[in-house]
Each structure stands twice: as structure tokens, then as C-alpha cells.
């Protein structure tokens, strides 16, 4: 394999997850022999003496404080400020859900586009530059499109984002504003994705979630690294993660394992649980049936568009992660999603997009059915901001009451509403 002097001594090669064949660190994503996905591989013995708790603590508060465990050769050039979002101790929500120790990993405030996708895109675009791409692209259910558009703009790269045509209006505007070429496809995400793999082959662009996927996917690990560090170098007993392709869930698992391998955290039992929306739940359906063969959902039907991937690329690995860690999968209805969004907002002042509602709603079920015992620590991964999917909750949270600019009218309104509140419901 190619090992020039500019190559990272830590990130060594790509490796097929199925057969283990090694590949050079190029813009490739599947094994030419058996079509298995390629994954970044590292020299942990070289990383161990360098990436210590002290070294990490001395670095800026961004996801790049773990850079030896990220698959680029040089310094990051895109998204240097991404990550290190708050881990919020959520006592009010904990009481509502009936669990003792609960935290929200709050990627609704991730920089710059308010979702965890900025993590994966900063890695993918930093690597895209190292590989010499001028044009970057993606297939997206919305959040990824926003992030590619914004981060490409700041890096001076041309971007094409391909999305299902029926996405939420704010997710479309949040891609257009950065000057990205936004292409709406009449079809579901899986059809967009299929088209993107054809375009990637034909035009030689850097598709963050196609030919750059081995790099892109690794960015998700930083959510797991941060959780462990922010918990005081401890792995939470339970982590609840929403699933679209299933990639984030598998990468949080990889993050915990890597920190154990490097001796940064003590080995302890942990379970990772997956959450999906009922209208597109191929992974949780397979898990509940006890199989690892994920049956595609041809026509996803849910308000949770960011999770509406009918053919989840990492479904198989997600199921094995759930099984290996003693985790469970759950799914919830659209009504439960909205209730979950409102509960998180009213208890913790955090406005999550629909995927966050899925995580809260499924966590509630997992606690109720005993998969998560009440006396163990839980982290909910909340991956995107509610301002992006306002349509989902519009009209579901009441309406403002309108009065004239008159103190008398205000007094009357307040008296009436106080009376309502004191009446037993």
C-alpha cells in the first residue's frame, strides 16, 4: 500500500468489514471482491501514547480533539469548530420518563447547521480536499444536505445536494441559502441514493455518503467520544440512538470500543438501543423478529423524514451492535414523535427535530418495558434542531392568544387562564 510521508501514522488504511481485505486510502467505499463496505482502520499502538486524557483536555473544544481517531492525513481544513456540543443532565425529563440518571447529548446546537451531520461532513470534506476534489455532493434526507451545502460554501467547494422533492421546506431553504445546487428528485430517499451512486461513477465527484463514505461515517464516532469525556471518562450504561441507515449507532459503539482499546476509559458493561419511526422501521422490525435480514421498506410513510431510509445500508451491522451490547430496538407512531418533541422541549428547553422525538418516545418505551432499568445511567442522542422540521409540530402546540394592547384585556386573559389551570382536568 501507498505510504507517503504525508500519510497519517495513525489512520493506516481502509479495510473491508466482511473479508478484511486492505485498501489504500482513496475515494472508494466497497470491497471489489465481495462488495462489503470499507471502513477506516487505525494503528492503535501508535495512537495510545499520543492520545491521552491530558492531551485531549488541552485541545480546543471541538470534535477534532480526537483527531488521531479520525481518517484524514493532515490538519482538518473544513469544519474545525464542529462538535463538542453540550451533554445536558436532564433531571426534569428523567422524572417524566421514570429513570434516575438521564443526559441529553444535544446536537441540536451543533455548528454550523444544527445537526450531528456537521460531524460527518467536516471529516468527509477535509478528506475530499486531501484527495483533490473540487466538487462535493450527497444524497440526503435533509440534514446532510444542509451540512454539505454550508461546509462546502465555507471551504470554497462546489456542491450538489440531491434530496427527495417532498422534504420539509426549511430543510430545502437551509441548503439553497448557501448557494448549493439543490436537486429535488421525484422519489423516495433510496431512489435518490441509487441515482447518486450512478452520478458518482460518471462525474467523478466526491459524494460524501457514497465514495467518501468510509471517511464520512467515522465522523459520527465523535458523538460517542464526547459523551464519554463529558460524563467524566465513563461509558453510559445505556445509549439511545435514532436509526436511519444505522450508521450513527454502529459508530457510537465503535467510539466506546476504541476508547476502551486505548485505555482512555475502563471497560464496563454498556448497551446501545436503536429508535425508529413506525412508518419506516426496517431495522427495529427485523430486530424484534429476531433476524438480521433487513426487509426494505418500499414506501416510507412518516413525518420523520430524516429517518426515512427504507434500505438502511448499515442495518445488518446495527442489529449486531444491538445484539452484542444487549440493546433493544423500538419504534413509535407519529403522534408519539410529536409528544416526544414536546416533552423534551417542556422539560429541558431543547427543541429537537422529529428524529429527536423518535429517540425520546422510544426511550420512554424502553424504560417502561424494562429494557432500560430505572436505576441505570442513560444518554439520549438528540441529533437535529426542531426549527428544521417545524411543519411537524405546527398546530400541535397550541396557538398564541391575541389581544389588543390593553392592560384590561391582559388582566382578563390572565384571570381566565389561571382559572382554567386551577380546575382539575
Amino acid at each position: 500500500m501507498d505510504m507517503d510521508k504525508n500519510s497519517s501514522p495513525y489512520f493506516t488504511h481502509l479495510k473491508c468489514r466482511e473479508c478484511g481485505r486492505a485498501y489504500d486510502k482513496l475515494a472508494i467505499h466497497i470491497c471489489e471482491f465481495d462488495f462489503g463496505p470499507l471502513e477506516a482502520a487505525y494503528d492503535y499502538d501508535a495512537i495510545r501514547p499520543v492520545l491521552t486524557r491530558d492531551a485531549i483536555a488541552s485541545r480546543p473544544g471541538s470534535m477534532w480533539r480526537y483527531r488521531e481517531l479520525l481518517p484524514i492525513d493532515g490538519e482538518p481544513t473544513v469544519g474545525r469548530q464542529v462538535g463538542f456540543t453540550p451533554l445536558v443532565k436532564a433531571d426534569r425529563l428523567a422524572r417524566q420518563l421514570g429513570v434516575r440518571e438521564l443526559y441529553i447529548k444535544n446536537d441540536t446546537v451543533n455548528y454550523p447547521t444544527l445537526s450531528f451531520k456537521d460531524r460527518v461532513v467536516s471529516v468527509a470534506l477535509s478528506r475530499a480536499r486531501e484527495l483533490g476534489f473540487q466538487t462535493v455532493a450527497c444524497a440526503s434526507t435533509g440534514n446532510l444536505a444542509n451540512s454539505v451545502a454550508a461546509n462546502a460554501a465555507s471551504a470554497g467547494l462546489t456542491s450538489y445536494v440531491l434530496i427527495p422533492a417532498d422534504l420539509e421546506r426549511s430543510k430545502i431553504i437551509n441548503s439553497l441559502v448557501y448557494g448549493a445546487h439543490v436537486i429535488g428528485i421525484h422519489g423516495a430517499y433510496d431512489q435518490v441514493n441509487r441515482l447518486c451512486s450512478e452520478i458518482a461513477g460518471k462525474y467523478g465527484w466526491g459524494f460524501v455518503n457514497v465514495n467518501l463514505r468510509p471517511y464520512y461515517a467515522e465522523g459520527s464516532k465523535t458523538m460517542g467520544f464526547e459523551i464519554v469525556e463529558q460524563l467524566g471518562w465513563r461509558i453510559p450504561r445505556h445509549t439511545v440512538v435514532c436509526m436511519a441507515s444505522g450508521s450513527l449507532l454502529t459508530k457510537i459503539h465503535k467510539a466506546y470500543r476504541e476508547f476502551i482499546t486505548l485505555g482512555l476509559v475502563e471497560e464496563s458493561a454498556f448497551s446501545i438501543h436503536g429508535a425508529q419511526a413506525h412508518g419506516c422501521s426496517p431495522i427495529s422490525t427485523a430486530m424484534k423478529k429476531g433476524t438480521d435480514i433487513v426487509k426494505p421498506v418500499a414506501k416510507p410513510n412518516t413525518i420523520v423524514k430524516s429517518l426515512a431510509i427504507g434500505t438502511p445500508a448499515d442495518g445488518y451491522y446495527a442489529i449486531h451492535t444491538l445484539r452484542d451490547t444487549g440493546g433493544s430496538a423500538e419504534d413509535c407512531t407519529d403522534e408519539e414523535v410529536i409528544a416526544g418533541i414536546r416533552l423534551l422541549a417542556e422539560c429541558e428547553g431543547i427543541f429537537a427535530e422529529t428524529a429527536g422525538g423518535v429517540t425520546v418516545a422510544c426511550a420512554r418505551k424502553l424504560i417502561q418495558n424494562g429494557a432500560i432499568p430505572a436505576d441505570e445511567s442513560v444518554v439520549l442522542c438528540i441529533t437535529g434542531h426542531g426549527l428544521k422540521t417545524q411543519e411537524a409540530v405546527a398546530g400541535q402546540c397550541g396557538e398564541p392568544r391575541l389581544i389588543n394592547p390593553s392592560l384590561r384585556e391582559f388582566d382578563a386573559l390572565l384571570a381566565a387562564s389561571r382559572q382554567t389551570e386551577t380546575q382539575p382536568s
Binding site: F33, D34, G36, A139, R213
Partner: protein, 91 residues
């Protein structure tokens, strides 16, 4: 009896760059054996050591994934269109 089998780009080195080849058999297992006879090396790319279709390879009979039919025992009629398609990773 023989059927058209669509070959994906990465496997066309084994079919002299043909994107469609003919193969005969009453079910997918027989079709795969026939493919191997005429295009040696093809089967190990499609099936693992146990002879099962690899996880990231999909075989469709008239747009139905054989995993949700009868896998390699899925019957094939004259004129059925068979496609071999690597799984698409994305998202």
C-alpha cells in the same frame, strides 16, 4: 431454457465486458452454477464459502429480491429477468 442475467459493472471483467449474459437452470442455484461454468470465478464473487449469497450482493428475479422469495431455491421461469446488483451503501 435460458434466462437473461444482468451483470453489474464490477463483475464484467469475468463476462468479457458483457452486461447481460445467458444462463440456464430451474432455480437461482442452478443459474449460478451455469454462470460459473461459462464464466469461471463469478460464483465466488456472488456466494460465500458456504455457498450462500453474499450479504452485500442482491439477486433480483423480476425486481423481487430472492431473500424474500426462496433464496437460491427460488424458481425461475422462461423469460424471467434476473439481475445481480451490489447493495448500495449510502445515507
Amino acid at each position: 431454457m435460458s434466462n437473461n442475467v444482468r451483470i453489474p459493472t464490477p463483475l464484467r471483467k469475468l463476462t468479457n465486458d458483457q452486461d447481460v449474459v445467458l444462463a440456464g437452470g430451474a432455480n437461482i442455484g442452478e443459474i449460478l452454477n451455469d454462470l460459473e461454468k461459462n464464466h469461471p470465478g463469478l460464483k465466488e464473487r456472488i456466494c460465500d464459502e458456504q455457498g450462500n449469497v453474499r450479504r452485500f450482493v442482491n439477486i433480483f428475479v423480476n425486481d423481487e429480491d430472492i431473500r424474500f422469495l426462496e433464496e437460491k431455491a427460488t424458481a425461475v421461469k422462461d423469460g424471467d429477468e434476473i439481475s445481480i446488483v451490489p447493495a448500495i451503501a449510502g445515507g
